[in-house]
Each structure stands twice: as C-alpha cells, then as structure tokens.
C-alpha cells in the first residue's frame, strides 16, 4: 500500500495536474453547441434618469438574436436581494434591479443586455444601443452623501443612510476619565478585489424539462441557486449551479449579481445556451469593491501602557445598492473585533452604512477584520508614541494571557484558544528585534531611515454557528455538509458543500480522509461546486472551509468508521466495543492477529451477504456540521522597511509572519495562503486604491491605473506557525486564508511611520505612495 499522507504532511496538490497542463475547466472555457454571447450595456453616468432606450439599431445588427432592457425583464427577473440584515440597524433593503428601469445609480449599472451569435458581434451591437440620459448630481464620498443637500439615491433611504449599527460598552465617561486619550481619523481606502479570473456565466435551458444549468464563477453555488431561484422564479430543484474551477474570488464572487440572473433569463427565453464574460474594465465597474471606511477612533489608557478603552465611529461606503453580504461586513465582521487580541475592558463601534453613486462594496479578503485590525494596530502605535513607550512593550502588556481562554471580550465574543505571547515572542526572535532597534539608531546617524512595524492580531474566522448567523441577521445557515462515499473497492468520493477557488481543498480534504481511513490520498476524490451532486453547502468565505467544511468531513468519515467497525466486529465474531481501527485494519483489542482490513470490510458492506442485525448495506457517512463557535486565528507580523527621505521611496527589507491557525493540515498550502494574503495586505498599504472623481467616475478603471502588486515589489517572506488547537471543532483547526491580509497592512504602515519618526510624521493616507511619503517628510506631519 502507498504511504498514507495524512494531516500535517506537505502533499503536492491533487488539483495541479489539470491546472498546469491547461486542462482546468473555468466557466469561460465552457463551449456548448449553439451557444450565444451576451454583452451588458452599462451606464457611463454615475447618476442619471433614463429618458429613452432605443434598441432598433442594435436589433438589426448582424448576428443579434435579442436585446433585453429593464422593461423587458420586469416580472421575469426580480431585483437582486440583500442577504445580510443586521438587526436593530434600521436597514433599508433597496433591492438592485437586474437592469435599470428609470434610473442608473453608478457607472457600470446595467441598462440592457445584447445577445448575439458571436462575442465580437454582441459587442458591436451593444455599442448601437442608444440610451438617452438626464444626468443627475452624484457623489462618491460617503461623508458628503450623508450631508445636507446631497443627491438622494433611494427615496426610502433619507440622508442616504442604509443602516446605523452600534455595539459595545464604551461610554463617553470612560474616555473623560482616562489618563491618556489619543484620537485619530483614518480613511480605509476602497480596494478592488481583482481575482485573475473575471466573472463569467454560461446558462443552458431545457424547455421540455424546465431544467436550467448555470456554470458560474461562484464561491458559493448553493447560495446562488437559493437566491437565483427566487430572482428567476425557477424552482430550486430545476436549477443547477456549477462552479468547479474558479480562478480566485477574494470575496468578489460571493455576491449574487444581476448579470448571472440575466444570462439565465436569456437562455430561458431564447432556449439556447448563452455565455457572458466580463472583461477587466467591466470587472472594475461591475464587480463588488471592498473596504472604503472613514473612521474616527479613540483609544484610552494609562501612562503605564495599559489600554482601557477603544471605540470607533465609522462611515462605510456601501455603494449604490446593498450587495448580498455587504451590510454584515462593516458591522458584525468589523465592529465586534475592534478590541483585537488585547484585554480591553471597554470597546465600542458605531457604524453608518451609506449609499453613494459608486459600485457596491461587499466582502474583500478579510472583510471587516482588516479594517478593524488596521485602526487598532495603528492606534496602539500612536498610543505608545504618546506615552513614550515601545510599541512592542505596550502589546506585551495588553495581550490576553494564554491561561485566560476561553476569553470573553467587551464585544461579547468568546475567543476559543490562543497563545498570543508565543507568536509575538517567535516573531521578535526571528526578526532579532533588539538588534534591529540598534541598527535603526546607527543608520539614522547616517541619514538612513529604517523602520520596524509590528502587528499582533486576532481574527474571527470559521463562519460560524448558524444560531449566531441568525442572531446577527445573516439570511442563511453557516453549517456545512459532507458525504463520504466509500465504494466497494475501498476508493472514496467526498461531496462537500465548501466551494474552493484556489485554496487547495481537493488536497487538504483528501488528507483528512486519508488520515482517518489510513488510505492513500490518491484514493480520495473531492467533489465540490455542483449543486446537483452536493446536497447543500454554504460555500467558501470567512476562512470557514477547513474549520467548518473540514469538520463536517471529519464527522462524516468518523461515521463511516463507526459503521465499518460494526461490520468488522460481526466478521470477527466480536462485540463492536472490543474492536478498534488501527493503521487501516480492524482488530480485536489485545489480539492483533484477529483482524480484517478496511478493504475487506468495505466489500462486505456492499455484498451484504452477512451483515449484523440492524446494519444497512453500503458504506457512506454523511454529516451536516454546525460549529458551536467561531474560531479565532491569531499571530504576529513584523516588517522592516527603509525609506528614502529624498524620494519617499519605501523599500521592503524583511517581512516576518508567525501565524496560528490551530492544527495545520498541509503546511505547504498554509504557507501559500499566508504569502498571498501578505501581498494583498501590502497592496493596500503601499499600492492599491480605487479613486473616484467628484462626478463619481472611477479613475482607476484598469490595471494601467490601479496598481496591482507584482513579483519584484517584495522580499522573500519569512513565515512560520505556532499551533494552538481550537477546542471547538473535531480537527482543532482555525482559518488561514485571510490572516496575511488582516495583519500585513498595519504592519507595513507601522513600519513606515516608525522610519519617519525623526520627521515628526504620525500618519499618511494609504496607499503610501512615494509622493505622499515625500510630502509628509517635507511637511513634517500628516499628508493626504
């Protein structure tokens, strides 16, 4: 038998052979006979009334089969709903019409869909759709949008306020009585997720059966089936959503979008397969953005370094409509984690969600937690500077001690497990912190500006218990399904509701099964991303795949072993409680010679010639696993930068990451997740930022204007793990997909500010472009 590559082994990925040979099957790769191509006509105005749409010229363009407008689809395609409604927040659920009828609210809002026999002809015809607009005043800024006289987006949302959510126990009194209070305003700039695969959809309809199949770039096909069923009026059992190879998501493929619904509708009406593919420019406009907060933060503490309170008043830019999960991001996923990994008795979050004439925002890798971690970690540094203490010492003083878990926070969360000091210690040791400080002092004498930035973080992941999901207004469950089907020959097919798009779950999940059944990973096939093959699933986001989906798999596999044990006991003429499963065989306890192999038992389960009473044939385990709590990954990141005072250029010298995601299933894959996360986090700190002008036109609408991180921007990262198992799930695992993004942004900015301390610079607006850094040095203070 081949070697068992179980939990903890660096197994090469099972998904790679198809992906490195060009045999992957992404949505845009789907070609169906008679397939048509769709193109969406989008608004060039940020805010306008639609006076007239003339489709005559487009309809007579060569190859055009149909043109749909908002009026055409009325009654057939319902507006796209919002699926996260935080309670007690006076939320205004202004659903998004799949095609605008009388008014467009952002540049990129869909106005018509053209369907033709060829992708070039579809685009030709889209340019012939004549839309007469009456432009209206527009705003992209959430603070302006809240102000008096601002253009109103939705009649039923006065002041453009989509919701107002509050949490925590921090009162004015706490701050009035504090020894030290530091206040600061941060602007979390808007980011554009930009997975390398843009959105695409292919829909195929069978008129005689009424079955509709949608191939989709989705992080959560079952959620899309659930929501689209309502939008399209297609019964759920007649709707199949397939998302097998998905080229990255980062949150941008969670939402239910108009375009996918329109493609389904076109296929249904025309009775022919229809494909729609975004191009990158379209992606910048039509796929959700992330972040975009204005945050006023106060931190209170004592001269000895004790932090006593932190609170934030945030204004979150929601864009023109509330996207699927959007309201949960700047509230639950942001506000509740504001006190971070510290023992802070008082914390508060007061969040306004505001409509503006911009692309809707939603989850972007980390979703709320990077925003919270940024403000906290920047404030800890500002607080440390205020009281004249080393920022690391302040962290050491306030971190929750490892013997205090489970720890109840001021926000009512219960952190499961942790050893925050160990992660910090390991990171400091790897960095050789003391020597770095000495080097920094030396270099300053030579006019060289070295900076060291530190972040200690904790994050909510493994979303999450369904009861909590309900309590916080998420319009779905957050459990996960898994079916482990052992075939008569002992090979295994697993069906999981988690839906990966780069996370390597076909490998890590196979390792979990291989570990438990003591079989080669090659014998385990993981099936995901198909609603017809998988009973139900809530998808991949919120670092939930391994903690929730993996746990479902572990429980289902245990059920297989339990049943197999009963059959084995019968075969061995022993009581089930006297039989144990050791290294792939069932043996009578204490009598290793009296044993039978897993394969023999599997075959007997299917032959069913002689099964014990009450045991059904076949061998399959199923679990619908609902976690009892979130899991809380944590760690310490350290960055060393050098800043050229003459040019404002920042050089990343070193980056150290010590993360703890509980038990690591595959260290190679976990490291990969950390690397990618760090680059996205540094992307926000130094390079990326969406810019709108005062007419709410997106100025950063392509890779020529929006700076994506590239290979030559980075040093080699130094990553390692500590392993503090989560007591909340059978595998002891936590999430790792978002930690890098959460930690890296404040780490790098803290490092740059540390470097610029001799110039009196306390803060610079992200991204820290050389021009901004240079100006800040010249001004000796904050620079926009």
């Amino acid at each position: 038998m081949a070697e068992v590559q179980g939990i903890g082994v660096r197994v090469k990925r099972k998904e790679d052979p198809r992906l490195i040979t060009g045999e992957g099957r992404y949505t845009e790769d789907i070609q169906l006979p008679g397939m048509l191509y769709a193109e969406v006509v989008r608004s060039p105005h940020a805010h306008a009334r639609i006076k007239r749409i003339d489709t005559t010229a487009a309809l007579s363009s060569p190859g055009v089969v149909a043109v749909f407008t908002g009026a055409d689809i009325e009654g057939h395609v319902a507006p796209i709903p919002t699926a996260w409604l935080p309670p007690d927040s006076d939320i205004k659920t202004t659903a998004h019409p799949a095609l605008a009828v009388d008014r467009v609210r952002y540049v990129g809002d869909g106005v018509a869909m053209v369907v033709a026999d060829d992708r070039y002809r579809a685009r030709d015809a889209a340019e012939l759709v004549k839309v007469e607009y009456e432009p209206l005043p527009a705003t992209a800024d959430q603070e302006l949008a809240m102000g008096e006289g601002a253009p109103l987006l939705h009649d039923d949302a006065p002041g453009n306020i989509a919701f107002h959510w509050r949490a925590g126990n921090a009162t004015d009194e706490v701050f009035e009585q504090a020894e030290v209070v530091v206040r600061h305003r941060f602007r979390q700039q808007r980011l554009i997720p930009n997975p390398m695969e843009m959105r695409a959809a292919v829909a195929e309809y069978n008129r005689s059966t009424g079955d509709l199949t949608l191939y989709s770039t989705s992080q959560n096909p079952h959620i899309h089936r659930f929501l689209l069923s309502g939008v399209l009026g297609i019964p759920e059992h007649k709707l199949r959503v397939i998302a097998t190879d998905v080229g990255g998501g980062f949150g941008a493929k969670i939402a239910c979008y108009p375009d996918e619904a329109l493609v389904c509708h076109a296929a249904r009406v025309l009775n022919r397969p229809v494909k729609w593919s975004e191009d990158r420019s379209e992606h910048f406009l039509a796929t959700t953005h992330g972040r975009d907060h204005i945050e006023d933060v106060e931190i209170a503490g004592k001269q000895d370094g004790t932090i006593t309170a932190i609170r934030v008043r945030a204004i979150a830019n929601m864009g023109a409509y509330l996207s699927t999960a959007a309201p949960g991001v700047p509230t639950i996923l942001f506000g509740l984690i504001v006190p971070g990994p510290y023992r802070i008795p008082y914390a508060g979050a007061d969040v306004y969600g505001v409509f503006t004439n911009t692309t809707p925002t939603d989850a972007y890798r980390g979703a709320g937690r990077p925003e919270a971690t940024y403000l906290l970690e920047r404030m800890v540094d500002l607080f440390a500077a205020e009281i004249g203490m080393d920022a690391v010492a302040v962290r050491q003083k306030n971190l929750i001690p490892s013997d205090q878990f489970p720890y109840e926070t001021a926000m009512g969360l219960s952190y499961d497990s942790g050893n925050y000091q160990l992660a910090l210690h390991n990171a400091l040791e790897t960095a050789d912190y003391e020597t770095l400080r000495a080097t920094q002092a030396e270099l300053r004498k030579e006019g060289k500006y070295l900076g060291v930035g530190v972040t200690t973080y904790v994050e909510i992941c493994g979303l999450g218990p369904s009861q909590v999901a309900g309590a916080v207004g998420f319009q779905g469950g957050l459990w996960e399904s898994s079916t482990v089907r052992v075939h008569p020959t002992g090979k295994v097919t697993v069906f999981t509701g988690a839906s990966p798009h780069g996370q390597g779950e076909e490998t890590t999940f196979a390792q979990i099964v291989a570990d438990k059944l003591h079989i080669p990973v090659e014998d385990v096939e993981i099936v995901h991303g198909d609603t017809a093959r998988i009973s139900m699933g809530w998808g991949t986001y919120g670092s939930r795949t391994t903690p929730v989906g993996g746990s479902a798999l572990a429980v289902a596999t245990d059920r297989v072993v339990e049943k197999a044990k009963k059959i084995a006991a019968h075969m061995l003429e022993a009581a089930p409680e006297d039989v144990e499963f050791v290294d792939g065989s069932f043996q009578v306890k204490g009598i290793p010679t009296k044993s039978t192999s897993f394969h023999d038992v599997t075959l007997q389960a299917y032959l069913a010639w002689n099964l014990p009473a009450g045991v059904e044939p076949a061998l399959e385990g199923q679990a619908f696993y609902d976690p009892t709590n979130f899991t809380y990954s944590f760690g310490t990141h350290i960055c060393v930068v050098e800043v050229e005072a003459e040019t404002g250029q920042i050089h990343l010298r070193r980056y150290i990451a010590v993360d703890d995601c509980g038990r690591v299933i595959n260290p190679m894959i976990a490291e990969g997740q950390v690397h990618g996360g760090i680059v996205q986090g540094i992307g926000q700190a130094l390079y990326e930022g969406a810019v709108y002008d005062d007419q709410a036109q997106l100025l950063t609408g392509s890779f020529m204007d929006y700076a994506m991180p590239r290979a030559n921007f980075f040093p080699r990262f130094e990553t390692s793990f500590t392993e503090t198992p989560s007591p909340h799930n059978p595998l002891g695992v936590k999430g790792i997909g978002e930690t890098g993004t959460i930690a890296a942004t404040p780490t790098v900015v803290n490092a740059v500010m540390d470097a610029l301390r001799p110039f009196g610079v306390k803060d610079i607006q992200m991204p820290l472009s050389p021009e901004r850094v240079w100006s800040a040095i010249r001004n000796g203070g904050s620079a926009e």
Binding site: M196, G247, G248, G502, V679, S702, F703, A711, F714
Partner: protein, 177 residues
C-alpha cells in the same frame, strides 16, 4: 462592425490549422474559441496581466495583443504544448513541486513567461526572476512559490543535456511542422 473573413494557417503546438476568421480577431480568441485550446486565459484588456501569454516562434507574447492574422504562417506554443501529464516540462514540474499555483488561472501565462525567461537567462538569480515576472500578475500566491518553482526548473535545466534543454525551453520539439 463585422468584417469579411480571411483564411489563416497557423501552427499551434506542432499541429497546423487553417481557419476562416475575422481580421480583427485576437490570437487569444483564435486559440480559445476557434481551436478550443482553453488553457490560455484572458485576465485583462490592457496587456498588463500576462494570463494570455503564449510563445510565438519560441518567444513569449501576450496573445490578447496579437491579431490572429499577425500569427499567420508562424508557430505558436500554448500551455497545452508545453508538456503532458506523463512528461511534464521542467517549469510545469517546478510549479507542481513548489506549490507555484493556487487558483491556477494566471498559471499558464506565468509558466510560459518563465519558459521565455529561462531561455534568455538559464540560471537567473531570485532578483532576476522577480524582474522577469514584471509582465504577469498573480493575485493568489504572493509570487514567493512562483519564484521557487522557476528556481527549481532552472536547477532541473542545469542537470539536463544542452540539446534537450533547448527543446524544452522553447517547448517546440525538433521536426515539428
């Protein structure tokens, strides 16, 4: 507007194809839509991301920025022609061994770019590899394992006889049509 079609003959992965296409058709659409070679992907529309990179006569080009007619009577190598699962190209092997891919979408273009890089500079330093990847964007890996994958491929080249090496570098075997 739709234009009159023209006939082109192009050799792709050693097979010669003749097709009637619109003169405005992009090479990437010829490969994907006309030939069904969907391993080459499209990641942007401004020639920045490199997902669509293929070899044209052995040198990397972005196939979203080349017209099909410009490739007429020439040789194109796509990821499908790089190696097979039984006999992987050293670059493919490196990407698998070193976890050089996550979602895999940019990977074909990045691997082809790496083949071009190693052809120019068979033993690049880490800094040279990172510079050489300037024309590609990967959103998943943070590039670290892509760098290691290319280093691993370079090491494998180092241990390979020169003649085989040249063939593997261009991805085109001798005597190809």
């Amino acid at each position: 507007m739709a234009l009159e079609k023209t006939s082109v003959t192009i050799t792709v992965n050693n097979d010669t194809y003749t097709r009637d296409i619109e003169p405005r058709q992009l090479l990437v659409h010829f490969l994907r839509d006309s030939l069904g070679l969907t391993g080459t992907h499209i990641g942007c529309d401004t020639s920045q991301c490199g997902a669509c990179t293929v070899l044209l006569n052995g040198d990397p080009v972005k196939s979203c920025t080349v017209l099909t007619v410009q490739a007429a009577d020439q040789e194109v190598t796509t990821v499908e022609g790089l190696g097979t699962i039984e006999e992987l190209h050293p670059v493919q092997q490196g990407f698998w061994e070193q976890h050089g891919l996550q979602c895999g979408f940019c990977t074909p273009g990045v691997m082809i770019t790496a083949v071009g890089l190693l052809k120019q500079n068979p033993q690049p330093t880490e800094a040279e590899i990172r510079e050489g990847l300037e024309g590609v964007i990967c959103r998943c890996t943070g590039y670290q394992n892509i760098v290691r994958a290319i280093q691993a491929a370079a090491e494998q080249f180092d241990a390979t006889p020169a003649q085989t090496q040249a063939a593997a570098t261009t991805g085109v075997t001798e005597g190809g049509e």
